[in-house]
Symmetry: C2
Subunit: 453 residues, 2 copies
């Protein structure tokens, strides 16, 4: 039996796929946070290099991957596509289960797929320093690694409570040469004002974004980088699905269902958009399912409207499924999925019924993650277990119905820095959380942002 | 440029290579710890399944790999061979540097190469439970993973101080379904006697071995497993070098120098023995260099004589380079290299001048590890940094001489569970340790074991 389908380095895609080109309804434009008028690319220039801004608003179907970026992708790409024979056997299912494994990257997740090109375009435009925020630490790790390769200084504002709970993540970033600050800091106006109110503030992703943006905006040689949500980030991640299509073809198979966890959208977009193209171009009917945590259900229970990308309200207003930017998700272990909104492209696709969304409870996710580790060997990141739980659900449906569907999911990373989550699950300490409709309504009621027609 | 040379799953070797068949002087036989007479295979039967005992004493050149083992190897094998272009550029060297990366295994190191076949042979002979010891945790992790795949219970006696310092390692083993005990325990006579003397004993590898062996010897359904030193363990690891030869051939190249870290010998044997075969069979002159920590210099400064494998003196006497089984290495971060002896095969090869040995200081190793991480991306395990330091030394010699040698080293694992070591290095807290000749002589003077002629 063949467990892995590999590609050679010369099969790394030469272009990223831009799903916007094929969307029947394009994403609505972002609005200025003050005037609430549509904003142009120039407003983003203090924060991002021009080439990334062009990609952010591009409607071209294919965007060429620079040769230098393809060459650095070779440090870990193409990533393997696995047939999960051991898991199939344990489930006694006629379904065929495949997974694309992105945890082979040096940073341990799919995040370097966009960190490398972001660092590349910044370096090309002479940027000397990049700031960013990180919560669980996956994004900060990937950007530190990418900046080191291009000789750019990297400064990461890490939510203080994570900084203290996950010291190994900080050490990884330091090893790649990045400076890591526990946010809120005394380095910015935003941080100082928070500390003045609460010297013991544990920080939040919203505060960390404010600090990173403030530093970038106030220095000509410094730009800011984001690891999900934005269009250009999703674009870069499509190398995952483009490779997966080639690998499924080599396996003589094609998925009926494509599954990925959903936080800000980069993981889901990465694997599913290239398969959506097959739906658009070739009339295939591949189901693409985004899986979010039940404790942060913006896709399944949120509202489609304009909202801020951050908690503080500094960013442009983005048309998206949201729980409201004041919504505070419970502290689940899948830190990468604790985000109130969904990004413009994915939200429009969901609104138009071109993709699906489901939610999973935390204990069910770790049950699935444990079964996966004990059959396939890799211990999946808490975020990744969400996709596995839904893949197992679909495989068990096949056992009931006798159908032999082909299921593909994206295994976005390993859990080497998240083992405390498995310890909590194994010792029965994990709590599932039911969000009431009243709580969601109350959070949305705090918004005074436009609701698209 | 091609960074990675990959193999397909059907290129996983079909046999392991047994270097004993080609050795001009065979290893001397092990001796009974009491009578000091040579022992036969039957004395090992309470601890190991018969098939592994046969491999332990085999003089056959090739030992077939069972199809079930080859199939499970496919969960991560063949492992990639990398050309370290970024590192070469940073060193400005005409040398060509290659590395074989074993950290892609689910357990994160080369250890599953032997854990899988050991679990397989035990399962085939009806064994229900395997005990072992672990220090740093790499071996315990690999055996837990392998036992889970074969439905065998796994009990790991983990040195208590490591159990407390490295909680993530324990959690990984638990995730794979193993029971992990902080040793010394109250479960064994050996443990109880230690605790009676010192209730707060931090434990040691020697004590943990005694506990694991005692449990295995006292239950017919339980056997014991070891992760290095023994001949059958080294045999299983030769898949590394056998794959590497195929990959070097695909690259149109062949190493002048093969380098690996040295603890008990499994890592070094795994990559180098198949290249030694080319020296024996084809008259090549490939230099094979074992790199040990300067704080535990058995190969470079030890004595060739019979000594115990454990600290307590329960195991057979093995002919080896040793610092004496009472030697206590300083607590360096490369825990996997803190072992007083060297195993029979490697020791005989070194005595006969067929391999070389060098030592490296801790700070130099982490300097090399950091340079590697910042160029190639992968953060190497503390053990692995020893091989990198010597590879860099050889590449810098090439810069001096203008020679373009081909250097291959084994990158045996990543540092995801050892990041505190990098933190210590980056903050200037790592200490190098000089061992005096008097200290070594004093340790060796405690031995009353035979010195081979």
């Amino acid at each position: 039996m063949q467990r892995k389908i590999l590609l050679n380095e010369n099969e790394i895609p030469e272009s990223w796929y831009n799903v916007v080109a094929d969307m029947p309804n394009k994403p609505l434009p972002p609005l200025h946070p003050g005037t609430k008028e549509p904003i142009g690319p120039d407003m983003l220039a203090p924060l991002f290099p021009m080439e990334l801004i062009k990609q952010e608003v591009s409607q071209e179907k294919w965007v060429g991957i620079p040769e230098e970026v393809r060459d650095l992708y070779k440090l870990w790409r193409p990533t393997p596509l696995y047939r999960a024979y051991n898991l199939e056997k344990a489930l006694d299912t006629p379904a065929k289960i495949y997974y694309k494994y992105e945890g082979v990257s040096p940073a341990g997740s799919h995040k370097p797929n966009t960190a490398i090109p972001q660092a590349y375009y910044n370096a090309k435009e002479g940027v000397k320093r990049i700031t960013t925020e990180t919560g669980a630490g996956q994004w900060g790790t990937a950007l530190s690694f990418a900046c080191e390769l291009f000789g750019i200084d990297c400064e990461v504002f890490m939510v203080k409570v994570s900084y203290e709970q996950k010291p190994y993540r900080k050490m990884v970033m330091n090893t790649y040469g990045a400076k890591v600050h526990p946010s809120p800091t005394n380095l910015t106006n935003a941080g100082r004002s928070i500390l003045a109110q609460d010297p013991n503030s544990p920080g939040s992703l919203g505060i960390a974004i404010s600090e990173a943006v403030e530093v970038a905006a106030s220095d000509d040689n410094t730009k800011y980088a984001l690891g999900s949500v934005l269009n250009h980030v999703l674009l870069h991640q499509t190398v995952i699905g483009l490779e997966a299509i080639k690998q499924m073809e080599k396996a003589g198979d094609m998925p009926d269902i494509v599954i990925a966890p959903f936080g800000g959208g980069s993981n889901f977009a990465g694997i599913s958009f290239p398969f959506l193209r097959l739906n658009f171009d070739e009339g295939k009917k591949i189901r693409c399912i985004a899986v979010e945590p039940a404790s942060c259900p913006k896709l399944t229970r949120g509202q489609f409207r304009y909202d801020f990308g951050d908690s503080v309200g500094m960013t442009p207003l983005i048309p998206m499924y949201t729980l409201g930017h004041n919504f505070v998700p419970s502290p689940i272990h899948a830190g990468g999925l604790r985000y109130h909104g969904a990004g413009a492209i994915v939200s429009q696709l969901l609104k138009d019924g071109l993709i699906e969304a489901q939610s999973q409870q935390q204990n069910r996710c770790f049950e699935a993650g444990l079964q996966f580790a004990r059959t396939e060997g890799i211990i999946p990141a808490p975020e990744a277990t969400h996709g596995i739980a839904t893949a197992i659900d679909e495989a068990l449906k096949c056992r009931e119905s006798g159908e032999s569907k082909t299921i593909l999911f994206n295994l976005c990373g390993h859990a080497h820095f998240d083992m405390a989550a498995y310890e909590a699950y194994l010792s029965g300490k994990l709590v599932d959380q039911e969000i009431t409709s009243e709580e969601i309504a109350a959070s949305l009621a705090t918004l005074d942002t436009p609701v698209p027609a």
